[in-house]
């Protein structure tokens, strides 16, 4: 059952990922990205990490992508025009892709046996434990990250603000 679900949602994730690159229209790409994130959330769920799955949906699919879609709609971005590829990209693209894929396969083959496998439901920790460790063990990184986010917000406000004369 777990394996069947994994195969289904992994396939959906990969298919959405390919569609994200191939799609001509920005909205189509954005929706494919949402598909990728949704199926990733299901994969987290299969691993037993319900909290991460829910947060994945809330933060990425629910907040960030809504903003993306909003901006695409607001700017009314049209379909991409197919400009055709330049000759260096055609000449170098296919060999480079082959080399990259080969390297990836080689590394995976080298690393995979030593890393061991993950079983379904392996990370079965509740939200309580995550919260505890976030506020005890990782307090400093957590606070530093929040300060970073705050600085980013301040920067956005400064950039977006109208000049006051």
């Amino acid at each position: 059952m777990d394996l069947i679900l994994f195969i289904i949602f992994a396939t959906i994730a990969v298919a959405c990922g390919i569609s994200l690159v191939v799609q001509k229209h920005p909205i189509g790409s954005a929706l494919s990205l949402i598909g990728v994130m949704g199926s990733l959330a299901v994969l987290y769920l299969l691993l037993g990490a319900e909290f991460i799955a829910a947060v994945q949906l809330i933060v990425y699919a629910g907040a960030i992508m809504v903003l993306f879609v909003f901006v695409i709609m607001l700017l009314n971005a049209g379909e991409e025009a197919n400009k055709g590829r330049s000759w260096p990209s055609r000449l170098l693209g296919i060999p480079l892709l082959t080399v990259f894929l080969g390297l990836l396969a080689y590394l995976l083959q080298r690393m995979a046996p030593s890393m061991g496998t993950v079983t379904f439901g392996a990370f079965n920790v509740g939200a309580k434990e995550i919260g505890r460790s976030l506020f005890n063990h990782y307090l400093l990184p957590f606070e530093v990250t929040s300060v970073l986010v705050l600085i980013a917000i301040l920067g956005a406000i400064v950039l977006a603000r109208k000049e006051i004369d």
Binding site: E50, N76, G126, A127
Partner: protein, 402 residues
Amino acid sequence: MNFFIISLIKTGIVAGAFMTTLAYLQWIERKVLAHIQSRLGPYRVGPHGLLQPLADVVKLLTKEGFVPSHVNHFFYILAPFLAVFFALISICLIPFGPSVEIFGVRTDLGLADINVGVLFVLAISSVGVYGIALGGWASNNKYSLMGGLRSSAQMISYELPMAIALVSPLLLLNDLSLRTIVNEQAGYYLGVIPRWSIFQMPFPQVFSFLIFLISAFAETNRVPFDLPEAENELVAGFHTEYSSLNFAAFFMAEYANMITVTCMATVLFLGGWHPLWPAEYGSDFVPVLLMLGGSAVLLFHGVMQPLKGRPWDRLTMPAAGLAFGAIALVFLVPVLKPILMPVFWFVAKAGVLLFIFIWIRGTLPRFRYDQLMNFTWKFLFPAAIVNLLITAFAVALQGPKN
């Protein structure tokens, strides 16, 4: 195997009840609005217009599914599906009652109980905006696009105070699973005052309940925050170009969202299925008395004081009165009591909240768009944060629970 069969039966019951409620909620809304405005409302189809929802469904089904030219076909068709899918899915997490024994089989009243239930409902409600936004965008209509944009901006903005208002009761109740949340609200202070989160010490969550309710109006695109479909500005907003079943899907999604939100408010703030006062003081007889009262009123008006010009009342009203009396007697059967009482209290609380939704629609005018945004960012959001801080402070002062 047993588990699957029970789940299938429960799903069937909940789906059937949910769909019927969806259809009749619209009838109730039209009736209540009509009476607020001194009209009669739907009256022609069936006794007191009771078959109106059926007629509406048949009308929408038999209409031509018209697709305007130059729309983005794929997204145009996908949008209503998304809207209705995300609207219907949350109901499977709502617990309607405690675990009960039916024919020797022990089962929870409610479909699923996952240990991050609250987060899951939040996730679904935040993804739910895509249906409306895509529908507005794909319709190739400026008004629709404006409606879709407004709705996504509004839903992102109101998500924040709503989520923060949800956190405060969670601090008191100490869990994310909806069933555990309701169980934590069992019991009474001084034997009378229920320990629901809006009454629970150390800091009663009245403010966060109000903030949640206000945000819920915006999340479900209801008056006074129904800017996405403001008729006087945007024709009909995001569903201007939809007809037939596609339109029905949007309509259904709105009502389904309303029911989900009221169920969430009931679970988180109003103590789920726990009665308003303990059973020792006779809270078990409330439904019986209510139904008998309704029965008496109907019988009196049907038999003794029939209105002129409504000849069928002589027949329908006593019949309805007898039906009410029969329902009252059902509540007295001792075997059914442990199942019916929690469900009654849950439905009563959710029903009161739904009535408030309709009542406000009949009372308040629509906000202006800038007022809407100012209200959430400059008042609701800070208020929710202050409430959260005070709650956290109170909980910390109280010390760890057991």
